[in-house]
Symmetry: C2
């Protein structure tokens, strides 16, 4: 009998976190995403990645995500996929939605954003920052990003890059395993 | 309060389906994937896509998936992401795993397969078959596929293409909505 269900569940510490008041600024959203990345390593043993989705209709935060891969054994549960999955129908609301991520999305997460219809993606650390400590982001990002930008999606990188880079560096120094394809 | 959990759940009709005995042949796995695609439209109102994951250690089927996007409101729940999520740790078992999909994966699902460490991907309908009826598979597939093949992953397309193409054609004729980026 093959398994018939799986759950995507935020850790307790994260589910209980107070959210910034709406309308939340870009900086408040990104500080939250980076804070989630930092705490995810320390509290849950997850990857050093966090994501926040803000509705552009009212500036309210509609979903949070952290990397749940080690905790869940589900290789698709990167922070961005978690946030997009939890946001669900809120992504289709008028006005659009912005995805804030503590590090540039890998190709799977960029593909998820493509399907989710987010209107803007804002990244802190760059792809090369993640690759410098051993993560493999996958080929195809340049091509997909160009297609998305061609459809009018805003793609911005480097907001609070130093703070996000500190989280990646601390993770690398900790000696935690860098999971990759076929981990 | 942002949502804290989401579920990935196969529909009842699919969860109760008998599976082929192990070791299941390539053709048996693909016939199952295509059958799931066909039934998913008729029984669940989902997209015309199905996926099956077979462990190469014993030839047993470890997970099934169908497109759950319309039913769940979660844009990441393509058939391949569902199957990979349900397979979980079984993907890391020695011997590798093959992903059978009724249609070539979109860029998100190819990225999910990249992270999941599947050792072989077998597709029935081709990307151009899906695009011919209006689905947008996303840029970057060619580049990511080349990277994966370079890592030794087998990528095969066109097994039972005609049967899978019939499912896509029937879906197109039905007048069902073709969801796409920003659906």
């Amino acid at each position: 009998m093959a398994p018939t269900s799986a759950e995507i569940r935020l850790p307790e510490w994260l589910a209980q976190r107070p959210l910034p008041q709406a309308p939340a600024s870009d900086e408040a959203c990104m500080a939250l995403a980076i804070g989630l990345a930092r705490e995810n390593v320390a509290r849950s043993g997850g990857g050093p990645f966090g994501a926040v989705i803000r509705s552009e209709a009212d500036g309210g935060i509609v979903a949070l995500g952290v990397n749940l891969v080690p905790a869940s054994g589900n290789p698709v549960l990167h922070a961005e996929v978690v946030a997009i999955s939890l946001a669900g129908e809120a992504l289709a609301a008028p006005g659009g939605a912005t995805l804030f991520t503590s590090c540039e999305p890998c190709i799977m997460c960029l593909g998820a954003a493509h399907w989710a219809g987010v209107s803007r993606i804002v990244c802190a650390a760059l792809r090369e920052d993640a690759e410098a400590i051993g993560f493999n982001e996958g080929a195809g990002c340049v091509e997909l990003r160009a297609e998305m930008v061609g459809r009018g999606i805003l793609y911005e990188r480097g907001l609070m890059r130093a703070e996000a880079g500190d989280v990646l560096s601390a993770f690398a120094r900790s000696g935690a395993a860098i999971y990759g394809p076929g981990r």
